[in-house]
Amino acid sequence: MAGKTLYDKIWDAHVADEADDGTCLLYIDRHLVHEVTSPQAFEGLRMAGRTVHAPDKTIAVPDHNVPTTLDRVNGVIENEESRIQVEALDKNAKDFGLHYYPVSDVRQGIVHIVGPEQGWTLPGMTVVCGDSHTATHGAFGALAHGIGTSEVEHVLATQTLIQKKSKNMKVEITGKLKPGVTAKDITLAVIGVTGTAGGTGYVIEYCGEAIRDLSMEGRMTVCNMAIEGGARAGLIAPDEKTFDYVKGRAHAPKGAQWEAAMNWWKTLYSDDDAHWDKVITLKGEEIEPVVTWGTSPEDVLPISAVVPSPDSFKGGKVEAAKRALEYMGLEAGTPLDQIKIDAVFIGSCTNGRIEDLREVAKVVKGKKVADGVRAMIVPGSGLVRAQAEEEGLAEIFEAAGFEWRLAGCSMCLAMNPDQLAPGERCASTSNRNFEGRQGYKGRTHLMSPGMAAAAAVTGHLTDVRTLN
């Protein structure tokens, strides 16, 4: 019999019931909840007179719509709809007895940054959240994926999901990355190869030397964007780095429980003879710093390239590329590193962790944000913000002319006042460059934190390796 993949092992450990047709009742170990995709689910529970099945496994934090300006500490959310939504979460967390980090809590932040930070996310778990970037937690060897609001209600009521197993896909990044190339470049480069549909129906396991060499922060960045490659979940097998990161966190097991957990966690890897339905291999040393040029995350090119001609594509992509260039206000043939920008956004569940901010500080130290560029750094959590201040990073950002904000999702999806104006162009460390994603008619180029920092300094898309 063939061995098992990491995904197979986690899946098998969580099947609470199985129907004849292979449909499973999958048990959920951690349910993360935020203010935007949950109110209708809690309302559904109330209407049906149901309760939360496992409030101790349910963690709530507002992040999507919260303001990130410093006046937030006064406790005022000016936008009435945002305030009502956050107050609904306050009330639901209290009424149903959930673990809760309100806006006023220093530990508040983006749900996918708070979960790992507080030790809620552990290897071998199943983790869900009403947010597609739940894939982030896969960096710990946890099976983690996004769900819709109906499924949020389902997990609240039953702590389970009705699921069919996905297929296994291996994405191997061999060798070493070149200097200036980061986890973000890996994950964008993979999407550039697979396309946004390539991972559909699969759970991806990322492996290989370049992945093993990444920090936990970098691994979270890689898994975070599994969804942009079409896969609901991305995984990385846990190792010593994972265990070191988890150990001592507020909700990680302690003492004898830690030892018992480690005994299982050390079995969480794909067996050598496991079956893979699809395998993709990229050479780490061939990955360049990349940026997106269009309105799909698969529109990825090295920064040294030029804006492509729509005619260079095939099928439906020709029309899509024409439309994308029109939306983005770009001409085919323009060198990518000559594209001028109006705004820079550094943050999000993709790149809002301390390591990302260190990268930015390295690039902008002693430099200034270019004239006419609005640049914003939004830490992923209150604790990331506190640490950046302790390390002196915040001073560097402010001296360079960045706005240094409070934690939240912010301009990644522009639900709060942090938005692009129509036609504005942004160098962004977020995860989606869809039409209107960062504001009505806003234009987004995705890239790594170092690349976004370089663009802030020069005022145009820039190869971070050319800056001194």
Binding site: D17, A19, L25, D105, R107, L122, I162, T200, G316, E435
Partner: protein, 211 residues
């Protein structure tokens, strides 16, 4: 959930690839707490231009079926994308492929997503553009247009749920209660670190908890 068995209507052609959920339902409308009446915000950025949006033009304003390209509904998990489509009267989306979370969300809201490829998809596109009447028959898993019958795939449990308008949560709480309790009991024994309440680690649960 409203039951779904058979639909008969024109099919609206939206022949573009990679229509993401931000296009279907822009993020700024996610501030609304409702799940009903969201159709008016659907495709907001595509409507109100010089060209009327396909779902606003007769006969497609009455369409219950949408025909579209690759990776429809890719992106965010927002279920508002499905709620808004359903509010516009769309009960079936026929695409080359779907974003996975959108695909799952459809089944929770009485909307049938169908994947078609090649000539079958070309036939659907032609029918949609010509305003032909299309019949979608879920029990027999068949689309009929003119003299053509096209078979489609759907998982048995999802088909049952759509046809019955099933309340899955109620079904699980009644039918799987024993299996669930047994599983939780076993996990509590085998992996106690997962189920120990944090209080048992000596943690404090509220915001007074030290950072």
């Amino acid at each position: 959930m409203e039951k779904l068995t058979k639909l008969r209507s024109v099919a609206a052609p939206l022949m573009e690839d990679a229509i993401d959920t931000d296009v279907i339902f822009p993020a700024r409308f996610l501030l609304l707490l409702e799940r009903d009446g969201l159709g008016r915000y659907a495709f907001n950025e595509r409507r109100g231009g010089n060209e009327p949006f396909v779902l606003d033009q007769p006969p497609y304003d009455k369409a219950q079926i949408l025909v579209t390209g690759e990776t429809f509904g890719t992106g965010s998990s927002r279920e508002q994308a499905v709620w808004a489509l359903a509010d516009l009267g769309i009960r079936c989306v026929i695409a080359r492929s779907f974003g996975e979370i959108f695909h799952a969300n459809c089944f929770k809201n009485g909307v049938l997503p169908i994947r078609l490829q090649g000539e079958e998809m070309a036939r659907m596109e032609k029918a949609a553009r010509a305003g032909e009447e299309v019949e979608v028959d879920l029990p027999s898993q068949t689309i009929r247009v003119g003299d053509t019958a096209i078979a489609f795939e759907i998982e048995a449990n999802r088909k049952r749920a759509l046809m019955a308008g099933l309340d899955e949560i109620g079904a699980i709480l009644s039918d799987d209660a024993e299996a669930l309790a047994a599983y939780e009991e076993r996990r509590a024994r085998e992996t106690p670190w997962l189920v120990l309440a944090p209080e048992q680690f000596g943690q404090i649960k509220s915001e007074e908890d030290a950072a």
